[in-house]
């Protein structure tokens, strides 16, 4: 089974082509406002280096946040368009789950314990959630909460994520753990039977948009 995975929830966007959970080709770009201009180029390049055609794609994996609202929508609308055209399913995978998987894999010392995941929230805040590892999966041990920068008072143990170190002060922090398409793709493969989406699915914005009635 071939999977095209797309992850655009942070300032670093990535695309990965996988055979089951094995990565065949990947690409990434970084920059605040470049996702829209670079996404399809990345997809083209990844397909090319994987020596694959679009009709080889069996499944789309999509990172659904939380993160940048605009980034999430760029990835989601592009993948919705492609999946509709090719008549293939999309497996939505929370990007924060992908960050957790990456944190566990890159830091095997912590494999037996829980890791707190902190994902940049784009509004001087971050999303936080505690994860544990369960075989090939990652499992949430708390709800995702939004904290302002600097918030750390009761966070014990290890935290990993992509929030800049100057903005947070965890006791033990593993920085530079960004969401990446390859992890989104791997989780999508594992979850291919459990998660299914309909056409109207939305990213995990995780922030209600509040506005004052006039």
């Amino acid at each position: 089974m071939y999977i095209l995975a797309v992850e655009t929830s942070s300032d670093r966007a990535s695309v990965s082509f996988l055979k089951e959970t094995k990565i065949i080709a990947s690409g990434s770009v970084s920059g605040k406002y470049s996702h829209n201009k670079r996404l399809f180029e990345m997809i083209e390049n990844v397909l090319k280096s994987a020596c694959m055609e679009q009709n080889n794609i069996d499944l789309f994996a999509l990172g659904t946040g939380p993160g940048s609202f605009t980034g999430l929508r760029i990835g989601a609308s592009a993948v919705k368009g492609m999946a509709t055209a090719l008549n293939k399913k999309i497996i939505p995978v929370p990007s924060i789950d992908a960050v957790a998987l990456r944190a566990f894999e890159e830091n095997p010392d912590y494999g037996g314990s829980d890791i707190g995941i902190a994902v940049e929230g784009m509004q001087k805040d971050f999303f936080y959630c505690i994860y544990t590892r369960l075989e090939r999966e990652v499992v949430k041990k708390s709800e995702i909460v939004v904290h302002p920068y600097g918030f750390s008072s009761y966070i014990d143990g290890v935290t990993a994520g992509n929030v800049e170190e100057i903005n947070v002060s965890f006791k033990k922090y593993i920085p530079e753990i960004w969401p990446e398409a390859q992890y989104v793709g791997r989780l999508a493969y594992i979850r291919r039977f459990t998660d299914s989406s309909d056409d109207s699915f939305e990213p995990h914005y995780h922030k209600e948009f509040k506005n004052v009635r006039v």
Partner: protein, 338 residues
Amino acid sequence: MIVLGIESSCDDTSVSVLKDGNILSVATNTQTVHSGYGGVIPEVASRAHLKNISAVLKNALDKAAVGLNDIDAVGATYGPGLVGPLLVGLNFAKGLAFSLSIPLVPVNHIESHILANFIEHPDIEYPFLALVVSGGHTELVYSPSFGKYELIGRTRDDAAGECIDKVSKMLGRGFPGGKIMDSLASEGDSGFTVFPRGMKNSPDFSFSGLKTAVKYYIEKNDKAFIDQNISDIAASFIDSVTDSLTEKLFSAAELKKPATVLLAGGVSANTSLRKKASAYAAKKSIRLCYPSVQYCTDNAAMTAMSAYMMIKKYGTDRFRFDPELDAVPFLRIEDKKI
């Protein structure tokens, strides 16, 4: 040739199927969530576009009884408009065009409002003079030939539709106010009171003075009086808006001597504007066209039509899939390159 049009520049998610210049279907989801706020909230609009766009596409295809594999090209609005909403429609269109391996035509939303006229009047002659009046734009545009535009005048402040919406809100009549003000005005006496006409003797428009005048008028009179005379007040207000619009349109027409005069955009649905423009055109024996109401406000039929006309003019090679195609929120019609 079958063209799929996708429009998402503001608060309507719209998809249309066009075959050889004839509309097979239009499906539109008009977002109602904004009505309580008195204006469109970009983040809320963007979320709704993404949630609904697949269903709207399916609806349009079903109505037209065509499959995605029958589509020869996609046309999508890339500006001007709200960046969040534009990005959803554009990326969805990019995904479709990329995966179907068909051309993607970037469509200028303002040009598409103008070209909406060709849906029902394919024989419109150049040069034409178009009055584009919508929620975000009020512009007088001269077009010597297909795809070429010269800006003759534009609003210095509010757009006409924006002014009508704001006045409707001030009068406690809801959002969007265009249709509401139009039907109230149709029952009223436009001579009831006189509101100012902005920017006389200039090709440019101004509507903020008018808006302020209505505001003072509402403050000066008690609520019972306003409510009692609401149709007359609406008629007097709309009369001021359409006087300004037609006065400038006619002066420019005298100067530029176009073969055709066009009305375009949401406000071109207005009864008073159509009446005044028709009277003038009849007097001067100049051809006047305006789209039927469903093609005045935002709709993807005009997007598909624009894409179709551009392909006819330039061929499909010009529109081979461009991965870098980006949304341009402040795109101007006079900067058009293709």
